[in-house]
C-alpha cells in the first residue's frame, strides 16, 4: 500500500479517510448513533442529544475538516468551540433563554421550598468527594460533581473553566441523566419513603397571590444577593435573571419571546453540535469517561436522596407535614422532575395533587443550582492553590 501511495501521491488525498480510520472512530460513530437514536426514537432531550450525536459523528471522521485546528483552515466546530464554549458565551445565553421561560410565582408564594433545593445540591459535593477517591484531580472531581446540579449550562460553564478536556463526556453525562430523571428518581424515592409518606397531601391555604411588582423585583433581588455572596456567579445568575426580568417587565414581550424561542433554539443547536465536536475518540474512549458516566448517575441518586431526606427531617420539626417526595424536585431538571413527582403522588392516591408544590421546588432548584455552581467556581481556585 505504501509503495502505491509513493507511486500515486494523489491516492493519499483520496484515501486519507479510510487510511486514518480505526476501531475507535467506529465506536464513536456508534455512540453518536446511539445518542441520535435516544433523541429520535425515545425522545430523550432531543434538542440536545440529536446535535451532540451528530457532532460526535462529524468529529470522528478521520481528518475531519469540521474540527480542523490548522490556522487559516479552522473547522466550523472548532470556531464555534472557541467562540461559544471556551469563553462561556453559549451557557450564559442559554441561561437568558431559561430565565425568560421561568415563572418564579410558586417560589415567591412559598419561599420555604428553596430549602429543599439547597438540600438537593448535596449530590454535587458527595460526588466530587467520590470522584477524588476514584483518582480524579480536585478540579476535575468538582467539575464532575456539578453534573449533580442537573443543570447542563452550569456543567458546561464550570467544565469550560476547570476541565476543558472532559467537556464532552461531562455534558453528555449531564444531559443524558437529566433525560433519565423518570427512571432514576422514582426507585430512590420509593426506597427512602413509606407509602403513607408518599400519600401526604399538601394544601394551598395561607398562600397569597403574588403581585406583578413582586415578580418584577424578584430577579433583581436575587442577582444582588447572589452577586454579593459570590461575585463569580454573576454571569450565570445574572443572565438567568435578565431573561426573567425581560418576561416579568411586560414591556418587551418581543424580546422575551425571542429569548424563549429563537435564542433558545439557536444556542441549543450550536451548543449541542459543538459539544459533540469535542467528543473525539482519543478523548472519549477512556476509562475516565466510563467513570464519569457512572458518577453522573451517582450524583443524581445523591441529589434525590438529599432532597427527600431533608424533607423528612423538616417534617420531624414541623406541624404541617409535607410530602417528602417534593424534596426530590430540588434538582434543576425543570419541569421534568416536578412532573415525575406529581405523577408518583397521583399513583399513590389519585386525589393527591401536589404539582404546584413540586414545580415550586423545581423552580427553586434552578436558582439553587446556579448558586451551587457559583460557590464551586469560587472555591475551586481558592482550594486548588
Amino acid at each position: 500500500m505504501e509503495a502505491m501511495l509513493i507511486q500515486y501521491p494523489w491516492l493519499d488525498e483520496l484515501l486519507m479517510g479510510f487510511l486514518g480510520l480505526s476501531w475507535k472512530h467506529v465506536v464513536m460513530w456508534l455512540i453518536g448513533a446511539t445518542l441520535i437514536y435516544l433523541a429520535v426514537k425515545k425522545d430523550y432531550e432531543p434538542a440536545l442529544l440529536l446535535p451532540i450525536g451528530f457532532g460526535a459523528v462529524l468529529a470522528n471522521i478521520p481528518h475531519s475538516s469540521a474540527i480542523s485546528k490548522v490556522v487559516g483552515e479552522e473547522g466550523f466546530l472548532w470556531v464555534l468551540y472557541q467562540g461559544g464554549i471556551a469563553n462561556e458565551l453559549f451557557p450564559v445565553l442559554i441561561f437568558v433563554a431559561i430565565g425568560a421561560m421561568c415563572d418564579f410565582t410558586p417560589l415567591i408564594r412559598r419561599p420555604i421550598v428553596m430549602l429543599f433545593a439547597a438540600a438537593a445540591q448535596f449530590g454535587i459535593f458527595a460526588t466530587a468527594v467520590l470522584a477524588t477517591l476514584m483518582g480524579f484531580s480536585f478540579e476535575h472531581a468538582a467539575s464532575i460533581g456539578i453534573i449533580g446540579a442537573a443543570d447542563g449550562p452550569t456543567t458546561i460553564y464550570v467544565a469550560s473553566r476547570f476541565a476543558q478536556d472532559l467537556l464532552g463526556p461531562l455534558s453528555v453525562a449531564a444531559y443524558s441523566y437529566m433525560s433519565l430523571v423518570p427512571v432514576i428518581q422514582p426507585p430512590v424515592i420509593k426506597a427512602l419513603t413509606t407509602s403513607a409518606e408518599r400519600k401526604i397531601k399538601m394544601g394551598y391555604e395561607n398562600e397569597e397571590p403574588v403581585s406583578r411588582t413582586a415578580k418584577f423585583l424578584f430577579p433583581i433581588l436575587i442577582v444582588l444577593i447572589a452577586g454579593m455572596v459570590a461575585p463569580i456567579s454573576v454571569a450565570l445568575i445574572g443572565s438567568l435573571m435578565f431573561g426573567n426580568i425581560l418576561k416579568e417587565s411586560g414591556v418587551v414581550d418581543n424580546l422575551s419571546n425571542a429569548a424563549q424561542s429563537e435564542l433558545a433554539n439557536l444556542v441549543t443547536l450550536l451548543l449541542g453540535i459543538t459539544i459533540g465536536g469535542t467528543m473525539s475518540a482519543e478523548r472519549f474512549l477512556t476509562v475516565e469517561v466510563a467513570m464519569i458516566m457512572a458518577l453522573g448517575a451517582v450524583a443524581f441518586v445523591f441529589d434525590t436522596a438529599g432532597g427527600v431526606l431533608f424533607a423528612k427531617l423538616l417534617n420531624i420539626f414541623s406541624k404541617e407535614k409535607m410530602n417528602p417526595m417534593i424534596g426530590a424536585c430540588g434538582i434543576s431538571a425543570f419541569p421534568m422532575s416536578g412532573r415525575v413527582i406529581a405523577k408518583m403522588a397521583l399513583k399513590e392516591d389519585p386525589t393527591n395533587f401536589i404539582i404546584q408544590h413540586a414545580i415550586g421546588v423545581n423552580v427553586a432548584g434552578q436558582v439553587a443550582s446556579v448558586v451551587a455552581g457559583g460557590l464551586v467556581l469560587a472555591l475551586i481556585p481558592a482550594l486548588a492553590k
Binding site: P111, T132, A141, A214, F218, A226
Partner: protein, 50 residues
C-alpha cells in the same frame, strides 16, 4: 488515608453546603419581605393566572 484531592473536596463540601443554606435562607427572607411589601391588589387578581 485521604489524598490531598479528597481533603480539598471534603473542605469544599464543608464550606459550600452551609454557605449554600445561608444564602438560601437570605433568599427566603428577602423573598418573604418582597412578597409582603408588594401584595397583590384585587384588580391584579382578576385574570391573573397565579
Amino acid at each position: 488515608m485521604l489524598t490531598a484531592a479528597t481533603a480539598k473536596a471534603l473542605t469544599m463540601m464543608g464550606i459550600a453546603l452551609p454557605t449554600m443554606f445561608a444564602v438560601i435562607l437570605i433568599f427566603m427572607l428577602a423573598t418573604k419581605l418582597l412578597h409582603k411589601a408588594f401584595p397583590a391588589e384585587s384588580e391584579e387578581l382578576e385574570g391573573d393566572d397565579d
